[in-house]
Amino acid sequence: MMQAVLVGLTVFALEFIETWCSYPMTTRPLIVGTAIGIVLGDVATGVTVGASLELVFMGVMAIGGTVPPDACSGTAVGTAYAIILGQGVETAFTLAIPASILCQTLFVPLVALRSLWSPMIDKMVAKGDYKGLQRMMPVVSATMYVFKALICGGAVALGSVAVQQFIDVLPAVFLDGMGVAAGMLAAVGFALLLKMMWTKKLAVYFFVGFILSSYLGLPLMAIAILGILYVIVLYVESSHKPTQSSAEEEEELFND
């Protein structure tokens, strides 16, 4: 029970920091897993589970009003079970992914709950009650996190026994397969990222990065720095052309 409360509180705190400090990335699986590991007393498992879930959810980011699987709650519940039941990454995976998708479906109505405050805010705006408006900030934002924390804590409190029984009946090949899936699912994460960045003209840079890493074995930072230097070269080159203004030139270079 204590563990469930701790998980709920951790989720609440992480969500709160994330949205009140301009997304410092505290709800990424790597951080959520680590935080749950710290409060439940098994940091190494927390980091390991967080890191492997991060690969799956890497490309999952709420951009442009889309609702992605909720990586935060899935990781919190999955990591908590992995630690409480003393199981490995495969178990965390089996539980985290359904949990995150369940929370995704709950996300839309939970956020909609916030709109219930709108008439009250309208009145405050009309009256010029700015102190009231400032008080509404934490109320409106907490309206969602409270429920999310309750769901995560509740899942941990209610599920331990049932989840243990569920895992006991699973055949070994299922958990082995989940281990294989853990590595393969990262492909979905990267595919989602690609969907965000991919344009026909820029696609070649994906392969450049792949070759630099796969054949030449360069570390990630080296590739990132090479990329930045290359972009600077492009910029300098394009601003030296005398006939066109630099802006038009850049547009042409990078046109989709």
Binding site: I97, V173, A224
Partner: protein
Amino acid sequence: MIKEKFNLTEDENKMCFQIAMRSHTMSAPYCWEKMQALAFLYTMIPVINKYYPEKEDRIEGYKRHWELFNTTPSVSGFITGLVASMEKQGAEDPNFDKSSISAVKSSLMGPFAGIGDSIFQSTWRVISMGVGLSLAAGGNILGPIVFLLMYNIPSAFVRFLGPYVGYSLGAKFMSSAAENGIMSFITKAASTVGLMTVGAMTATMVSCNIGFVFTMGGAEQSIQAMLDTIFPNLLPLLLTLFCFKLLNKKVNATLLIFGLMVFAILGTWIGIF
């Protein structure tokens, strides 16, 4: 120090600091119909109270900002700072058309979201996460710590300076930056670097190995070893591109995740992996 750099008075410096602090909450009260409106209004309260002493003007000001707004929180400070400078102008100059404030807000939130998403949410997050993950192997807590520091130090810098830059450069500069292609250049440049790092991480972090072994001429041949000598990490690359293709065909990501899980379990059962 910041005060001298941007040529601000003591008062303005204090206000910009307040805006910077309040802009951090931009996504906190996100709701479906007005999105970040409440947080924008919350950020503008000290500005409006400072420049408009009359209650009617204040109410009008609150109403102006209780309208749909949505951008990447990390770069929202540029817009809030800029809007503060316009509010100041509006309070001082009776001929100033206040509807231009809303127009500037809605015209800048798109380009800024584009630039913020591509630099911070995609590229820089992915690079720092890649470094963090490579350190996190074996449950090392250094991984998450390095990720948080590496992501947050540059982005906190931008988050905090945004309002100062927006306030002192003013509306003209920002709209011309949005129009003359500088912002779209930065967005594309970030995508270029982002694509390179995603390509690199596809090679190192997606794993897909064929465990199937056959005997030929008395020697055991592993398909995986053969593939590795010709084209290392070919399968992770193909798998990623295949997922990307399906996503582009509007296949739901959730469905794809479950599909891959089933595929992996079946593959393990048959003995391919």
